[in-house]
C-alpha cells in the first residue's frame, strides 16, 4: 500500500475504533443509565472532602428512596477548576470555600450562599516526633494551607492572634490538600492544615499528630458552603428549595446516629463519589465524633461577619460585599423544622 492509503485507512479505522470504545466505556453509550433523565438534571460541584459530604449523601439517599436523584454531583480535584466551572456556567450550584464565594461576590459574580456545608472538620497536624505542642512552637516554621481563600488560612490567622503572634512569625505555604500528608511525612513542611480526610490520614498512617482541631480554636468553624447562581434562585426557586432541604436532611441524618455515619463512610467512599479508603472516612467521622458536624447549618450573620473581618485583615477580601449581598438564608430559617431522611441504610 502507498503511504497515503495506509495512513488514511489506519487513521480512519483507529478514529472509529477509539471513539466507539470511549463512547461505550466512558460516556455510557448503549448503557441503560444514559438518556433523557441525566441530561435534564442540573449539576453540583464538589471535592472529595468531608466538608462536602452532604452532597453525595443527598444524591445517594435520593437514589435509594426514589430511584433517581435530583441533581448530578460532579467531582473536582481542585479549587481552581471547580471555581472556573462554576463561573463558566457549567453548573449552577456548588460546594465552595466560604471566603472564596464572598470574594467572588465582591468581584461581581452573581453568587449566593444558601446553606452551610458543615461545621468544624479541619485540623492542624504536625509530625508525631516533632517538638511542636503549642501554637508558639510554630514560630519560624513552615505551615501549609490549601488556598489563600481557604478558611483554614483564616483559622491560622486567628490562632496566631490568640497566641499573640502574627503571620510574619511563620511561613505560610499554599498546597493542594491531597499533597499535604506526603509533605508532612517528608518534612517539607512542619505543619499542615486542610479539610478532612487529609489530616486524619496522617494520623491514621501513624506519623501525624493533632496540634489542635478547629473546634478547639474556632468553635463552629465554617469552611465550605453551598452556593447557587442568583439566576437559579430567581428562575427556579422551588428547585433550590428542594436542594437545600435535601442537603439539610442529609446533615441531620448524618448526625442522627453513628451507624448512619458509618453507612455514609461506606457508600461515599465508592468510585462514584470520593473513591477513597472507607476506613479513612470512618475514622474522620468517628474519631472523635464531633471532629466534623453536619447540623446547625443555617446561615448566621455573625459567623460570616467574623469571616469578613478576618478576610479583610488577611487581605483576601475588600469588605465591599456584606451578608445580605452574598447570603440568602431564606431557604432554611429554622433547622428544627427539617427532618432527617427516613432511611436506615443497607444493614449488614
Amino acid at each position: 500500500m502507498t503511504l497515503k492509503r495506509t495512513v488514511t485507512v489506519y487513521s480512519l479505522g483507529w478514529i472509529v475504533a477509539i471513539t466507539l470504545l470511549h463512547s461505550v466505556l466512558n460516556l455510557g453509550l448503549f448503557s441503560a443509565r444514559s438518556g433523557a433523565t441525566t441530561g435534564e438534571k442540573y449539576r453540583i460541584g464538589f471535592l472529595p472532602v468531608t466538608c462536602h459530604l452532604t452532597c453525595p449523601v443527598t444524591d445517594f439517599i435520593n437514589k435509594q428512596q426514589t430511584g433517581k436523584s435530583i441533581f448530578t454531583p460532579v467531582r473536582f480535584n481542585g479549587w481552581p477548576e471547580l471555581k472556573e466551572a462554576f463561573l463558566s456556567g457549567y453548573m449552577p450550584a456548588t460546594f465552595i470555600l466560604a471566603p472564596m464565594a464572598m470574594a467572588l461576590r465582591e468581584q461581581g459574580v452573581p453568587i449566593k450562599i444558601v446553606y452551610l456545608g458543615h461545621r468544624d472538620g479541619s485540623a492542624v497536624m504536625v509530625r508525631k516526633d516533632s517538638q511542636i505542642y503549642r501554637m508558639e512552637d510554630l514560630r519560624g516554621k513552615r505551615v501549609a494551607v490549601p488556598n489563600r481563600f481557604s478558611n483554614q488560612r483564616l483559622l491560622i490567622f486567628r490562632a496566631l492572634k490568640q497566641a499573640g503572634m502574627t503571620v510574619n512569625d511563620i511561613t505560610l505555604v499554599e498546597m493542594p490538600p491531597p499533597d499535604m500528608p506526603a509533605a508532612l511525612y517528608s518534612r517539607a513542611v512542619d505543619a499542615v492544615s486542610s479539610g478532612e480526610p487529609f489530616m486524619a490520614q496522617t494520623e491514621m498512617d501513624g506519623y501525624g499528630r493533632v496540634l489542635w482541631l478547629t473546634k478547639d480554636v474556632w468553635p463552629n468553624f465554617i469552611s465550605c458552603v453551598l452556593a447557587v447562581n442568583e439566576d437559579m434562585i430567581k428562575n427556579h426557586r422551588e428547585t433550590v428549595q428542594e436542594l437545600v432541604n435535601g442537603i439539610a436532611r442529609s446533615g441531620k441524618w448524618l448526625d442522627q446516629t453513628m451507624d448512619h455515619r458509618m453507612e455514609a463512610a461506606q457508600f461515599v467512599s465508592g468510585p462514584e463519589y470520593y473513591n477513597q479508603n472507607p476506613r479513612l472516612l470512618s475514622f474522620v467521622l468517628s474519631k472523635p465524633p464531633d471532629r466534623v458536624k453536619y447540623t446547625n447549618l443555617t446561615l448566621v450573620r455573625k459567623d460570616f461577619e467574623e469571616i469578613e473581618a478576618l478576610g479583610l485583615e488577611s487581605g483576601i477580601l475588600k469588605g465591599t460585599a456584606h451578608f445580605e449581598d452574598y447570603a440568602d438564608p431564606s431557604f432554611v430559617t429554622d433547622e428544627n423544622a427539617i427532618n432527617p431522611w427516613n432511611w436506615e441504610g443497607k444493614k449488614p
Binding site: 503511504l3 478514529i15 477509539i18 471513539t19 473536582f76 463558566s88 456556567g89
Partner: protein, 262 residues
C-alpha cells in the same frame, strides 16, 4: 564495533538489550525503595499490583480508551490544521512574515496556562482536554512544515518547473513530497508532546483517563502505587505510539529523506 553501530544490531539484541536495561531499572528502583525505607514510594511489585487492581476493577482499559480518544482527536486536529498551515506559511514569504511573530508568541505558552480559559470556553467536557492537546501538538507540526518548505533544496523546484509544474500541482507533487520526511519528524515529536500533556489536560474535571487516574489517586490518600501505575501506563503507551509512527518512515515516500544513514 563500528561507529553508528546499527549494523551490529540483529533481531535478538533488539529485544534482549532493552529488556536488560528494563530489568536493571526495575532492580535499581526496587533496591532504592528498600534501602531508603521510603514510606511513600512504591516498589515495582506494588505498582504491578496496582495495575492488576485497575484491570480487575475494569478501570485501566476505560481510562486508556479515554486518554487515547482525547489525544487522537487533539492530535489529528493538529495534523489537519498544522500541516497545511505550515506548508502555506513556508511557501508564501509574506504570510510567513505576517504570522510568524504571532506563532512564536503562542508557541511557548504551556497548555497548563490555558486550562482556566479552556474550562470557561468548553466547560467540563472532552472538548477542553482535546483543545489543550491540540494546542500542545499543533505548533511542533506547523513549525516543522514551515522549516521543511523553507529549507527545501532549490533543485527540486527548478526541475519541477522545467517539467512545467505550477500552482496546486507543484504544491502537491513536489513541495509536499519534498517536505514529507521533515513533517513526519515533526509529527513524531508532536505525538510525543500530545501524549505528554495528557496528564495536565485531564486535570480538568473530566472523570476518566490516565491523567485523571493520577490526579484521582492523589485524592484517594496514600495510593502512590496507582500514581506510578498511571505513569508506567502512560510511558508504555507512549512507546507503542512512537513505534507506530516510526513505521511511517519505512515508506519510500518518507524513506528517501533519511537515506544518508542507510
Amino acid at each position: 564495533m563500528e561507529l553508528g553501530g546499527e549494523k551490529t544490531v540483529n533481531g535478538k539484541s533488539r529485544i534482549v538489550l532493552p529488556l536488560c536495561v528494563g530489568v536493571a531499572v526495575l532492580l535499581v528502583w526496587h533496591i532504592a525503595v528498600r534501602i531508603s525505607h521510603s514510606y511513600l514510594t512504591p516498589t515495582p511489585l506494588e505498582v504491578l499490583r496496582g495495575i492488576a487492581e485497575l484491570i480487575q476493577k475494569g478501570l485501566l482499559f476505560k481510562y486508556m480508551a479515554a486518554s487515547l480518544f482525547r489525544v487522537t482527536c487533539g492530535f489529528m486536529l493538529a495534523v489537519v490544521i498544522g500541516v497545511p498551515a505550515g506548508l502555506l506559511l513556508g511557501w508564501f514569504q509574506l504570510a510567513f512574515q505576517a504570522f510568524n511573530p504571532m506563532l512564536q508568541i503562542l508557541r511557548p505558552i504551556s497548555p497548563i496556562a490555558w486550562i482556566p480559559l479552556a474550562i470557561s470556553w468548553f466547560g467540563i467536557s472532552d472538548a477542553a482536554p482535546i483543545f489543550l492537546i491540540f494546542l500542545a501538538s499543533v505548533f511542533p507540526i506547523a513549525v516543522s512544515a514551515i522549516a521543511a518548505v523553507q529549507n527545501m533544496q532549490p533543485v527540486y523546484l527548478r526541475a519541477a518547473r522545467n517539467f512545467g509544474l505550477s500552482g496546486g500541482e507543484l504544491f502537491r507533487q513536489v513541495i509536499f513530497r519534498a517536505s514529507l520526511p521533515q513533517i513526519i519528524t515533526g509529527i513524531r515529536i508532536a505525538l510525543g508532546v500530545a501524549w505528554l500533556v495528557v496528564v495536565a489536560a485531564e486535570m480538568i474535571a473530566v472523570n476518566s483517563g490516565l491523567g485523571y487516574l493520577i490526579i484521582d489517586a492523589r485524592n484517594a490518600g496514600k495510593r502512590y502505587d496507582l500514581i506510578v501505575a498511571g505513569m508506567v501506563m502512560i510511558g508504555l503507551i507512549g512507546l507503542v505510539l512512537d513505534l507506530i509512527v516510526r513505521q511511517l518512515e519505512k515508506f519510500d515516500e518518507v524513506r528517501w529523506g533519511y537515506a544518508s544513514r542507510e
